[in-house]
Assembly symmetry: C2
């Protein structure tokens, strides 16, 4: 599976170079003009080669609800999600494939799947997603989504005394489950890693967090959680801990250079300093944050404080696409309205770096994320003759600031080609499309019972 891409544009410090790129045994072996062809020759003319992006936060099975959930903030949206989440392994398999296809076709080579688990079939859910990802060939970071408190505990109480039903599974059982998943599926060298992934402070006890820290240390696993996605969660943290969520997570030792935190919308300057000090990574999910009205994460502040930031699509029930280029575009432009000094704005090249090496850093994968000799060949080749990238100006400007359509020519993960001439080669995408169609129906008359139960309390406590 060796190959040599000839005469391809790559980003240089200032502008672009036209080079050949040799890939040998899954590793970038040389980047120079006029190299000998090793393995297959790939025509790189009028194409741009970039390191693969990382979709650093999604929930693949939410694909079954995309386009479906009304205009709700997170807390009510979650109630809908719980009521209508897919409970069937076949659907988990299909949506994992669908997520991977959209990732490839928007420049991604890795996905962090904060995967909802079917109650009673938790290991099977993980096994199913892992098998889909291995089949299609994407580099997968499977982060089984766990919690040990019930949904209503995730909404602040305000002045009201409330009790919550206990969660259906004990904390210890959940930790055993994750340990078993690690034993069965954690194979980084084969492209599948398991992460510990307590959903967030809003639905997890300290016992669950510390159990996850222990597993993370013992098995060298990355850590992944939601963090302060909404104003309501900020209130809840104060009720629960008497301090900010970030201070609490630092105190219990959860934050580290292999901890990535999705959203991070409602952090104080002191919280930001803690993220910088602990070398934690922020995963910015701009479209989900807009869709759910969560707020605009202070991404320019993170960057100024030296916090590593990368991008995620978030699940398709809150975005509702899995297009990384869209998340990168909006996730960089959105912040121009938060700082009048344009010298602080994120440039297209910086956005590319955040989406590639920023993502790799957050997953503790120094061997990924840039076009450098010796790194793993997770690569994406873009066709710059696509109508959406014309006329010719600055290739990276066009790719990040435009709305590229049908632009991904080839994708390789670990040197293996998974997309060629714009088509996924490892699965039959037309068959997938047919299956997604067959397993669903036009449905617009659904009504969530749980939303009905919690909406009045939510509006009261949020002052609506």
């Amino acid at each position: 599976m060796n190959f040599t891409i000839q005469n391809v544009l790559i980003a240089a410090v200032d502008g672009y170079n036209t080079v050949d790129v040799q890939v040998v045994n899954g590793i970038i072996a040389a980047i120079e003009p006029s190299l000998d062809v090793i393995g297959t020759a790939i025509n790189g003319e009028n194409k741009l080669l970039l390191p693969g992006f990382i979709n650093a936060h999604t929930h693949s099975s939410e694909m079954w609800l995309r386009g479906a959930i009304p205009a709700f903030p997170l807390e009510l949206w979650l109630a809908e999600l719980y009521d209508f989440a897919p409970l069937d392994l076949e659907k988990v398999y299909l949506s994992a494939l669908g997520t991977a296809v959209e990732t490839f076709l928007s420049g991604g080579t890795s996905v962090v799947d904060h995967l909802g688990l079917i109650p009673g079939k938790e290991l099977e859910t993980i096994a199913t997603a892992v098998s889909a990802y291995k089949e299609i060939g994407i580099r997968a970071f499977v982060a089984p989504l766990i919690q040990d408190e019930s949904l209503s505990a995730g909404i602040p109480s305000g002045e009201i005394e409330r009790t919550h039903l206990p969660y259906f599974r004990l904390t210890t059982a959940t930790l055993e489950l994750i340990e078993e998943a690690v034993r069965q599926f954690h194979r980084p060298e084969e492209g599948v890693s398991i992460l510990v992934a307590p959903t967030g402070i809003q639905l997890c006890s300290d016992a669950l967090f510390t159990g996850c820290i222990e597993l993370s240390d013992r098995y060298n696993l990355c850590r992944h959680s939601h963090l302060l996605e909404t104003k309501a969660q900020e209130k809840l943290a104060r009720e629960k801990y008497g301090c900010s969520a970030v201070e609490h997570l630092q105190r219990i030792g959860y934050l580290s250079d292999r901890t990535s935190l999705a959203h991070c919308v409602w952090l104080t300057d002191a919280d930001i300093d803690i993220l910088a000090k602990t070398k934690s990574t922020v995963v910015h999910n701009p479209l989900s944050n807009l869709r759910l009205g969560s707020g605009i994460a202070p991404i320019l502040k993170y960057r100024q404080a030296g916090v590593n930031v990368t991008f995620g699509c978030d699940g398709a029930a809150s975005n509702d696409s899995q297009d990384l280029l869209e998340a990168i575009k909006i996730g960089s432009l959105l912040h121009n309205v938060t700082d009048v000094d344009y010298q602080h704005w994120i440039t297209p090249r910086q956005a590319v770096e955040m989406a590639s090496s920023g993502g790799a850093k957050g997953l503790n994968m120094a061997e990924l994320g840039s076009l450098t000799v010796g790194k793993k060949a997770d690569l994406v080749l873009y066709d710059l003759t696509s109508l959406s990238l014309l006329p010719r100006t600055d290739p990276i400007g066009l790719l990040i600031l435009g709305r590229p359509t049908n632009v991904v020519n080839s994708v390789w993960v670990n040197g293996k080609q998974l997309v060629a001439n714009g088509k996924v080669t490892t699965i039959d995408v037309d068959e997938l499309r047919q299956q997604l169609f067959n397993h669903s129906q036009w449905d617009t008359h659904r009504k969530s019972q749980t939303v009905g139960e919690i909406e009045a309390h939510y509006r009261m406590v949020m002052g609506l």
Copy 2:
């Protein structure tokens, strides 16, 4: 050119209906289940039919600069634009075609082209764009971009005494030019309308505005301008008029039910009341407003005040795409972070209405903008089996909240089919692609002289 679309989904008050749609002589003749086939039968199964959207503000020739201009606010961005604007009619022709193609493939059937004019070849520029639009068949509202003050006058003076070079063309000559354009090209019944379109208060004298009002009244033309796109323009209006720009435009009689105003980011509540009272239309350009850091237009307030709002892409140098579905998605979701009460958020169905009938209203075209018997057949048929619209949930939710790719199956304007099976039928798009490629080059080492001249003053007066 009569046709009947069979078994197609259309939006009903609550949910969807499956119907047949007959189009006779360019008019929607019947919408009911099980109609007789008149003319060509079109298979509407698993497809959604919507009225065509209107791209209510763009500048087609900016396509030559897309992806190219650095992260600048409007005032510096404009300097780059002026330095590198295309000066050649062939390019005007190609970018008009390119803009129309992207409009069709993202659900649009009409475009408002606030068209930059090549100095000395003003009428030829208009003639060229008009001929491109007639060739491809899009419904075109050509709004020749005029001003009568020079660029530096568009930046507030602050405490500094400044003089500005006079504009190269006299106000009267500009008005004569527009009148000649109206005589030659204003043919609404053939799908081409000319608008009076002074660029905005920042670069236009009252004499230009009142001359445009007079032409608008005499020839029954719509009026189109930029309005308060940036904080700098708000400052400038206070310097220039001693009141808000909106108050001034009302006083001189520019605002009316056929006036559409692009951007409207920096309006006060009193200004919003004036827009409502005068029945003016706001054209929201969310992506450009983010890209240039202009701010978030208070769209939810406009809607609550009863102001008509529709969407524009803005020119491709400040977006940098001409995809209407992207503008509609971001233009509706963006405002969820501006109002904590989700009951005020724009729903996907409301967004569709804003983009279709809202656009028609702003152009004084009561015969457009909805699927209603008797209206003109400007229609778009979406293929709901596209991977990006699966699994099946709510078709309009998927279309507006997702990132649809390759979803437009057919487009008709005035009953004439312009896209069939996803391909434009009136021009050779591959040839267009080749021409766009040939007329451009990878270029990343440009330096704008004008930016150098005005940047220090801009930073000073904006307190940077």
